[in-house]
Assembly symmetry: D3
Homo-oligomer: 232 residues x 6
């Protein structure tokens, strides 16, 4: 997974990525739930570092549990530089999985972003920490109010998608998508061409072209597009 | 449906419209789901141009289907100037029904707005296209990921409301409402008076008046209001 | 309930309050639904003034009902200065419980804030009235479209929490929490210490400290923290 | 509310009652949630005795609370003979509001039925107690696990309907409907005629009649029906 | 579509049909919602006759509308013998789309079954009519309480599936599945072989065989199975 | 975990178990979703054997995946005699996790029961296999249609509860509850006494006793109860 590949992916919208993955029969790649806490930022790319929660049980999900080796704290210290941390909160939004202290530490560790189908807490503090975050809202209670942390770097579900450690995550204003590890090169290649094509189509629409025959392109349009591409 | 009528409606809040329709026994006129993509814009009015989706079936809902005569592309080219396009996405928000190329083309065709109980995709591009949009969020996947387009200008449901071609749609920061075609004049007339009355009441509240007897008005208050109205 | 106590609570995040209440076994204190209509404002504190709705019945939930003694209008005139009005809308978000005239009147009566698991209507007007509001979105229809108002200062549910008249409400960007009346002093005391501790921890994280042993603090860290606290 | 009126209502299906109430503009009269615990029993009729729950708060919703004067136990002892107890459980089905001991006591007090949008617990025991019950499933936990009981004979919501003490409840295999107190005579009268008419229509369908013109009846069919009715 | 094909399909479980369709990439073929009103009956097969509802609007969805040409009554008279009527009720279960008179008429017209993601009303009467019905519960209110009927033999959604007129529907105790018209022969052929294979596997499991290598079959197991099949 | 302990637990209702666990502050122990496929059977007890699914991804969740070492097949062969298999299906009910061949094999392996917050498929076959099953309905599609199997004997969530390998599961007509391993003896002891007490109370209610003072017992009632208990 070279940095060049990541640089390419940063130029491909998550919308395009889902279209490219559909060519491989993959429809479940966009996570329902994660939304950018601060819209309008740059597109981010990184390998998934997974975290897993199960529901709270009152004897286990306590502030004391935060000191255990298997804890969100332990997970954070295990995160490699550049990763995108993906937390399976089972879609529960009545407890915030991470607050400002934890996101501040993730920034220190050069984590690229946090993605979850759950909520964050102490939203003002998380914003102040500057960690790019895709989540489903904010909630005051700590994770232990609704969730028990059970481990990291396991297969998880997040927002209706399966995420495996090492899959690649891309996030932008449309949300977060997961690219299966073995399809990353395919997506980068096809996606770059798709973006090029859409750029050309946008120009045509700006000139007043009608959609049928243009998008998707018919034979004649494709000839014109190919000529333009060559001429570039 | 004269332009004068539309001009009148543009001065009536969607809140007032629902109150006026209730006098005719109509409670189901506000669509649950559509929210302004850019809050704070002007109130918009136009005749409904309906579009209908059913759930995706993998053999039909493919990028190839976009080239068919019955496609969202075909629908867009059939939209009359000034209409408000209303898309029945069955409330599904895990696929974006329209992206930037389509909304850009709608702008070119002078469509007034897009309203849907579903999502858009390529949100950044949709914003750039400047098409006023009321939707329920953004999602990366294309419509074919969750939906099959089946036609336009049919009766549809949108956000729990029945919408028929030719009904009038009004959108503002509270969302989108549908006025049955035969009640548009009634709503314009009653609505204008209702707005006048509320403006006067607001003035009274600003002066420190108590609510009981004022809103709704009792006999005595109505006399005062009528005097003010005459004096205007 | 002295003003000093309220001043203390205003410095304690709702996140911290939920953590402190968990020490007393209370997990259900954060209301799901209410979100700040205008994020980024100051934290607000006040005693709960409760209002209760049941579902609409077409013969009762009419604009005419607004003139009855038991009406939202009557409730507003009964609100004491400084209270936080909490409305049980049963989580129904397809009708706006209050619009601009009502929130304007609440401002005149020096109500601190409005909190509801329902929606407001005439959002532009509510914003203009400046009443701090925590709600679950906006909707055009009036309360009578979906709700019947039945009384005030009764026990209610709001966002999955029980709220009793006289409980204390605290709202910030994470939402709204309810503190049982008999635990307010405890929360103020413990909460203030908790904030102090987190401030120190934030400093440690900024200096690059690892989380395990720091948050929560182990024996050694606590010694360092206590020394810092004494030295303050 | 004479026994004769109740006897008439026992011959009218809840389906017919909703159709008759629609003539008065009432659409919200069928409760979503309550289903017969034992299908196929007789239709039951009685005046509503209301009970109200709010969400649990851990310091209040405890087994100890069952000994308080305001408790489900107190409510049961206040139930008049023949009433139908309607419990507003806010649609929460993860706690059973009543178990076998309570339903057994209700049988002793000659309560006609229990209706709730929540669940019962100890289903085997409730069945053994023979109390006719319309509920939304069974759950092991006691009410205090999710709910706090706050009073009886107040206006409540149940399954999306407003229910006031003294309204009349009718339950059969389609569920439970509420008739506003002032419309009971109207419903009994119109409903009886409606049942007569449907009985005649059923006979026509059995003879092979087509539906258009028959149901609803056109002019010619009505003449035939009126003749039959006279001849009866 | 010969009767022989239908006879074959009647021997193939809906479970097997979904497995066979997955080989063609089709995952969305089982309707969420429809359940047998009377479990344990025979498996039923027939071509889909579609019906479509949109949400109710109070001025349109009235008992009077039942006399219109476009009405459920009109639809029933248009149903061909042997069809399975599939009604898109948008998953709304608070109104019963059909009651006893309508299902009785469908029986007279030799309709095979009724399938809907909505509810029926007058459940006792529907049961008495003997029309095989797959629905999502029962509700007292008529369709007009929540729905407006808009047409038949159009593409619809039902329980999250696209259904087109002429698709083939199969219903059993697991629910209802839709087979795209052009895949019916494929499903019949593959499905019959799949059932044969599972019958043999069941025998193996009864003899105590372990699952790995058996289901799905490895090379060696397949040899044994093929031998058995030849010997049959 | 002796057989004697299990025998005791088989005499304690799941309702009572939740009441006893509440004394230890545990409210999350009843699983929302699992219901007995065949009501009215005996109460079952066994140690949890956990299974975990994540959402389907089209390239992984295929019939071919069933032959992998990490598969439901593999899990079944690892189940110890007497265990209760608990499957975390993330509450997804549009795919059946197990069908008749798998439940038949579980019977052969003397598994006590299957519990899941998901669905089964081939319901008729599962019933024929006689494996006691608590699930949330039936669906035709196989697990791979919505789920990817990822492992067994890990901590899981099921119906909103955390379940750890070795916890004890008890199922009856109210559903399924999980007892944390270290509380099993406590529950058995307290639960047995609770059942005894309720039996006595039932007798009192049968004799016509009022509830207040009886249930829960006041001082005087407890004296009478203690006398009865001694006399037994």
């Amino acid at each position: 997974m070279t940095q060049a590949l990541y640089a390419t992916l940063r130029e491909i919208t998550t919308a395009t990525i889902t279209t490219v993955l559909l060519k491989k029969g993959i429809r479940k790649c966009w996570m329902a739930g994660p939304k950018p806490l601060v819209p309008g930022g740059p597109r981010l790319v990184g390998p998934a570092f997974t975290m897993r929660f199960v529901p709270a049980r009152e004897d286990l999900a306590t502030p004391e549990s935060w000191a255990k080796p298997i804890s969100t704290r332990g997970a954070i210290e295990a995160m490699p530089e550049g990763c995108i941390a993906v937390a399976d909160a089972m879609g529960i939004t009545s407890a915030g999985i991470f607050g400002d202290i934890l996101t501040m530490r993730m920034m220190k560790r050069n984590v690229t972003a946090l993605v979850t189908d759950g909520a964050v807490r102490d939203k003002a503090g998380v914003l102040a920490s500057k960690l790019p975050t895709w989540c489903n809202g904010a909630a005051s209670p700590a994770s232990v109010n609704g969730l028990t942390f059970v481990g990291w770097e396991e297969p998880i579900g997040c927002g209706g998608c399966a995420v495996f450690p090492g899959d690649v995550i891309v996030c932008d204003d449309d949300g977060a998508v997961v690219i299966p590890q073995n399809l990353v090169s395919f997506v980068a290649e096809e996606g770059a061409e798709h973006e090029r094509m859409e750029t050309w189509i946008v120009g045509e629409v700006e000139r007043g072209a009608r959609l049928p025959g243009l998008y998707p392109m018919n034979e004649e349009t494709r000839v014109r597009y190919d000529a333009w591409k060559k001429g570039k």
